[in-house]
């Protein structure tokens, strides 16, 4: 589900300065010549450490903070179960002895700090516990499931970007200055519709049309490459629609910038003009605003897996929640959280590559 696709309403606060604006307060060595002598003074460029060094340090720090938060949150999942966790876990038919045995087994009878220390210590050693349900080590469960989820989510990110960026840009160019109002209206309507369809609904409809109606693609499983098509489409399409709107808005702004006039003044052919001069600038804004959409694709993946009986983390965590299999829940939530952090980090690194000015600012994980 792409619940937070729309969240960037107020994400303006994330934006770096207007791409065209000067970064305020940047200590640029002043090179103005001494008016009396005409002799230039000072060095040409600003000194200081490499901008990436600080950025990566901050970014790793942020990642560490997220990791710690995730560990604490997943630890608390069990502690926060209303009433007596052991009783809840043992089920309604459990005898008092069984409950006590379970309590001891999970360590719920130990003081909280000790429990946390053993939980965190276990994680450090790669020990994520053992499934209540299947007695499998959780680490093995994740190792078996993670590749499938990562495959879907990352492919969906790539597809969403590959659809949204050219589409949004083409529409922005075609409708600039208020031209082609009908194309404008059609774009707004189609992306509005596509953006509002939840991934799992889209997935169901895709199965209806392509697997059952036309019979050209498999409806479930992950056995073949063609099995990827429908789930990736279902996950990527709503996000692509939302992103395409962002790209279009950003592109419209970029096309009005002075530096685009400078580029026009160099009489570049259209591909160079848009790909070289507009694209990097509009990607900055797009990723800043649309980065959330990309990490939200992971949420979509978790649910869409159930539509296609995809053997990933999503289907597994749902099973685990229904079975109250807490070690598996904790492990999968932890890894899903890290995956989201990874996507956010990729977005930030991309931003840094596209627009070095963002290296100084953005640091949320």
């Amino acid at each position: 589900m792409r619940t937070e696709d729309h969240r960037p309403v107020d994400a303006q606060s994330h934006r770096p300065e207007n791409p065209a604006a000067d970064t305020p307060g940047t200590p640029v060595t002043d090179t103005s010549e001494n008016p009396a002598t005409g002799a230039p003074e000072g060095t040409a460029v600003r000194g200081g450490g490499h901008p990436w060094a600080g950025f990566l340090l901050r970014r790793l720090g942020g990642l560490l903070a997220v990791l710690v938060t995730l560990v604490v949150v997943t630890f608390l999942i069990v502690q926060l179960i209303p009433g007596d966790p052991a009783r809840a876990l043992a089920g309604p038919d459990a005898t008092p002895q069984q409950i006590e045995q379970l309590r001891h087994e999970i360590g719920l009878d130990r003081p909280l700090p000790e429990q946390f220390a053993s939980y965190a210590g276990g994680l450090l050693g790669g020990d994520l516990g053992v499934s209540f349900q299947t007695r499998e080590p959780v680490a093995d469960v994740i190792a078996a499931r993670l590749p499938f989820t990562a495959e879907l989510a990352l492919l969906a990110v790539v597809v969403a970007l590959a659809v949204a960026v050219p589409l949004g840009m083409a529409v922005a160019v075609a409708t600039r200055g208020g031209r082609r109002p009908r194309l404008d209206a059609a774009f707004t309507f189609v992306t509005g519709l596509g953006g509002a369809a939840p991934e799992y609904v889209l997935g169901t409809l895709l199965v209806l049309v392509f697997a059952i109606g036309l019979g050209v693609l498999p409806a479930s499983g992950a056995a073949t490459l063609s099995a990827l098509v429908l789930p990736v489409t279902a996950i990527a399409l709503p996000g692509a629609c939302v992103l395409a709107r962002v790209v279009r808005r950003e592109a419209a702004v970029v096309l009005e910038q002075d530096y685009m006039r400078t580029a026009r003044g160099r009489r570049l052919p259209a591909p160079a003009l848009y790909a070289r001069h507009a694209l990097p600038n509009l990607l900055t804004g797009t990723l800043t605003l649309g980065g959330l959409t990309l990490s939200a694709l992971l949420g979509g993946t978790v649910i869409v897996e159930s539509v296609f009986a995809w053997p990933g983390m999503g289907t597994r965590v749902v099973e685990a929640i229904l079975a109250r299999d807490y070690p598996v829940i904790q492990g999968t939530v932890l890894v899903l959280g890290l995956l989201a952090a990874l996507i956010n980090m990729i977005v930030d690194v991309l931003l840094g590559l596209l627009d070095p000015r963002t290296l100084a600012g953005r640091s949320h994980a």
Partner: protein, 606 residues
Amino acid sequence: MIRWTAGLKAGLAGLAAVALVGLAAPYLFGEAAQQLSGAAREGVSAGHWLGTDALGRDVLARTLVATRLTLLMTAAATAIAGVLGILIGTTVWVAGPRVRETGLRLIDVMVSYPAVILALVVAAILGAGPVAAVLAIGVAWSPAFARLTASLAASVAGRDFVATARLLGVPPYRVLTRHLLPNIAEPLLVLLSVAFAGTLTALSGLSFLGLGVQPPAYDWGALLDTGLEAIYTNPAEAVGPAVAITLTGVLAGFVGDGLAAGSDPRAGRGRDGWSPSAPVPGRRAPDGALLVVDGLSVELPGGVRLVDGVSFHVMPGEIVGVVGESGSGKSLTAMAVARLLPDGVRATAAGLRLGDLDLTGRAEPARLATEIGVVYQDPSASFNPALRMGGQLTEVLRRHRGVGRAEARERAVKALEAVRILQPETVVRRHPHELSGGMRQRAMIASAVLPGPRLLIADEPTTALDVTVQAEVLELLKEINTAEGTAMMFISHDIGVVGTLCDRVLVMYAGRIVEELPVADLRVGRAAHPYTRALLAATPRLDEDEERGPLTTVPGRPPAPSARPGGCAFAPRCPVALPICATDPPAPVPTGEGRSAACHAVGVPS
């Protein structure tokens, strides 16, 4: 303000209809939805428009009946998200700077995480069930509200009216209701409608996964789940809830879009373009002129003329200044010559050529790029922030002259050196934001000169710079003119600057050239036109070598292009206006060698 667009109205009307269904359907179709018929999983028929489910119940009836529970749960989750988020946001905001800093960071991180994962955490704690699902989605959406609240608080608390209201002793609740709420209501409403759509799909998603509503109760998500199971026997069973979820989401999206629509003021415009037709030719340019502009007009789509029949020429090696107040059309004239007019304005001319290059037709891009160099007004905005200096400087050489990468780079370094930029080898590897404003403008000049243009157009090249840097840039332009013999059009609002640099000066007012005179005359104050004289009077003496103060202005304001008077546009401000000035536009009249003025009073003894 809320604009009642069609989308907003349609969205609200649609949502109202959905709400009505939610209200009425259980009474109307409740029985049909529970009624077991013998026919399980039947396809679409006249009796069952969407077929029947595994127990033979009518799918359409069940979809309609499910509306109520779905809407109630969505409303509850949205309310929880809103209340919780606003509480968190407010708490973080009033909790003092330390807590605020960390709190905001934390909210930021939470917002950047998929709500599904947060919801799964809550669902895991509380177990599967409708209450747990509502709480889970409510909690998962609260960070969005928290952040909006915090940023609204930040922006509103700092505004003047709040401080003023406090000073005036307005009671706090009045400040809240009269001043704050109207300012924050709109973004909050937008987020509410967006969150409604989001919680709807998220809640339905949880039910779809089996983590939300448990049988025998059902909402759209649960129906979709059973529909998916039956997809091979009765495909229509999934369609009902799928359409319901999407439709309601789209309607809420319409409302959100409609509420947010106030922000896009871009209005419809026509095409840009050139038409070399019709305009009245002006006077003949002397033989051997490099740039000849004849009857150039620039107009808006509505026909409003921003530049009105301007004719002039530039000789090889000559620096011609174009001076005027902002809105006089001087920059548009320059951009029309450079063929860089913004979208939506049209230029027409009886003739416009640079040497043998016809600028009204489809001029070859390579020739345009290499023969006209442009120095733009704002050097910090005119370099592409995402590209390194070297790439931008060498672009024309490489693209249009076929110069190789290494050689182009070498020539760029030399050009930077020529404009006295230190360590040019380093500078070419920098991004524009790493240079100072003065350096950027010198680099801009280097970039314009690099292909060896015949004409350099400098559009207010010093306006964005501070005074000492201004002088350097002017000196540099003069140097290039002397060394390379490059002709220049120098656009400025500062008649003093024009006087120091140029050979000949064109004075523009309200889209027309009102006077043309040699710079020597300007320097000694020998101007014929009342407007030029007023400009000179407003400027400290040019021959006094002292720092110029801020430009004092000519009293009054120029007329808007759409409201220019029928006669002389300067008449309302002119100290020597004659009766004829209000009715007849004055035509340019030669007043001597290389001089002309468009004024009824010129030549009339005063």
